[in-house]
Symmetry: C2
Subunit: 338 residues, 2 copies
DNA sequence: AGACTGACCTAAAAGGTTTTCGCAACGTAG
DNA sequence: CTACGTTGCGAAAACCTTTTAGGTCAGTCT
């Protein structure tokens, strides 16, 4: 390893080499105007030759800004943390911000610990990424830096949260099914106690109601977020109303299971039954046969927005409350024959 | 937002409140021994009451250690970056290290930029996570901090790299197939130009050779890392040698496609054809029907090891070269009927 | 000549912490 | 009473940078 740990060159070295004081060197390096052109050049050259890189720690110590934000996730391995993280990293990366990553793994103790160390490191703000859309405990109480919540909202209405608009997402899905001419639409989704499942069921119910239709089977089928449940639910749906011509599934996993089961019974997707998934989890939605039409929560956008809002909050302007970010429809073959 | 930005309490505040000098306060807070018991208590109480938290920036400025490492990834969204990241975060999290995340998105310019800012922030070390096992350009030349490479090795043999042992992984896969009694084994894998595909093919060939067997079809089938290729290859394999009784696939995606196609032809897995995948990408390997026996590269372990090695390097001990981390076998139903 | 202006530069302080060194007080031994 | 060691504490330097408040000098105006 070529890493002989040598002392980093400081502004003093640069100043000495250029034959000026460190104050002048600082001004030259920062483009302040009280430096003669010739002196400016000397300093810049010296800095170049020495490979000078200002010590961000010292800068932060004076400015009080670290240009660093903490990203606290409950579950970074999860489906949802990653895109949000990427979006945030994207919003920051273009500037000069850096992201300090902390994975609390759903443990409240760990979470508090991380918040403490983030504060000790004097981050300028914190983004909290949840793993479901259910409200989570606020960490913001009496914190000296702004906090925004992404995906999972804070339970404190004073806080700022960005969550996908699941009611709206469901509406888009059902409207699409109506548009392609389906009328007997069933809804298969995750566990009742998930806010996401509730919201999507509500959106589905409302949209059908507005169209003067009822849910095929009378009510939404709550189960698990799994492929297995998708398969099981297929039996239930087909047994309940064999005339069902479309299903809106609360996740791509469920949709994948549903399609599988339905095809094994000899029915065609989308000809006999159209299917819409949720999440646009590409590995699943693009790879099933046929590929799934699905709702995309635009999590990267959500993450980016949350990050941008954090900037705003750092600069002093905050707009508290829960912001619902709209979802979009990705159309593939499971609803539209090619 | 409850974040009225108030000045953080400093050690001066604590010292004042305790009625001692900041030097004494510092010693008390850090458990130095030159403090009377009674004074110690006073200082600790004052710190407690004020909610004092030492400023990590100031500490780092003196100590020269930031207890922060940079994690530079080419592709954090990818299959491979995440587990490595988690493993690293794991190794660090237990201590007091923090991870500064940078996603260069495969862009060399961006990468250099990030290295510069990481150095400006005086990180103690850098982990570079690649997106394939192909060697990548070294960034370590003349860097003042240690660097370790994970998943993708550096092309400079002086550097320290941790990569999965794909030759060994293939060996394990094939040996498992031999153990369950298969003799006509085919190998379907990714593009020729991937080091991973090459290695796995080599491991396959060697192991068969040692068993006195030849590859079904005469040679490995190189294609893409996709499900589609898995399906296509199924046709080729079955057309070439209908007696083939096992297939080792270079990825779970390929395996999933293969299984799908084979089952559509009415063949049973594993009864007629046993299938082993690669990656143990749970969403795929555990959800296909039947679930896939697959090779797990233990990327989290790899990441953790890389991180631990970085510690060692920071503390002065480095062991350069490419370290191949062994893979393991996850047995599911695609090779062993339940 | 003296005062003023403007351009260019520097000394010093500030930011928060740790560490080194010195100082005072006290007790003990001679 | 002196010499000396111990204990407890504080002043100041160090880490590196930016900013403020001057300072010097040359030139210009009265």
């Amino acid at each position: 390893m070529s890493s002989q740990r040598r002392r980093a060159t400081t502004i003093t070295d640069v100043a000495t080499r250029a034959g000026v004081s460190i104050a002048t060197a600082s001004k030259a390096l920062n483009g302040r105007s009280q430096v003669r052109a010739e002196t400016l050049q000397r300093v810049l050259r010296a800095a170049e030759e020495l490979g000078y890189q200002p010590n961000a720690l010292a800068q932060s110590l004076i400015s009080g800004q670290t240009r660093t934000v903490g990203l606290l996730t409950s579950d970074s391995v999860g489906r949802f943390g990653i895109p949000v993280l990427l979006g945030a990293e994207d919003a920051f990366g273009t500037g000069e911000m850096a992201v300090l990553l902390c994975d609390a793994r759903g443990d409240a103790i760990r979470e508090r610990h991380y918040v403490r160390t983030l504060l000790a490191r004097r981050v300028d703000g914190i983004i909290v990424v949840g793993e479901s859309t259910d409200p989570r405990p606020s960490i913001s109480l009496d914190l000296p830096v702004p906090v925004v919540y992404a995906y999972a909202p804070s339970d404190d209405p004073q806080d700022v949260s960005f969550v996908p608009d699941d009611v709206g997402g469901a509406r888009i899905a059902v409207q699409h099914l109506l548009t392609v001419g389906r009328r007997r639409i069933a809804h298969i989704t995750g566990p009742t106690h998930y806010r996401a499942a509730q919201d999507r069921a509500v959106g589905t119910a409302r949209t059908l109601e507005e169209a003067g239709l009822a849910l095929s089977g009378g009510q939404a089928l709550f189960g698990a977020w799994s492929r297995r449940w998708g398969r099981q639910a297929a039996e239930i749906v087909l047994a309940g109303d064999p005339e069902t011509d479309a299903v809106f599934c609360g996740s791509d996993q469920i949709a994948a299971g549903f399609v599988e089961a339905v095809r094994e019974r000899g029915l065609r997707v989308p000809d006999d039954i159209a299917v819409v998934g949720y999440d646009n989890w590409e590995v699943l939605s693009a790879e099933t046969r046929p590929p799934l039409t699905t709702i995309d929560m635009n999590l990267e956008v959500l993450g980016r927005t949350a990050a941008q809002h954090l900037f705003a909050a750092i600069d002093g302007r905050a707009a508290s409350g829960v912001h619902r970010m709209s979802c979009s429809l990705t159309i593939r073959e499971s609803t539209m024959p090619q």
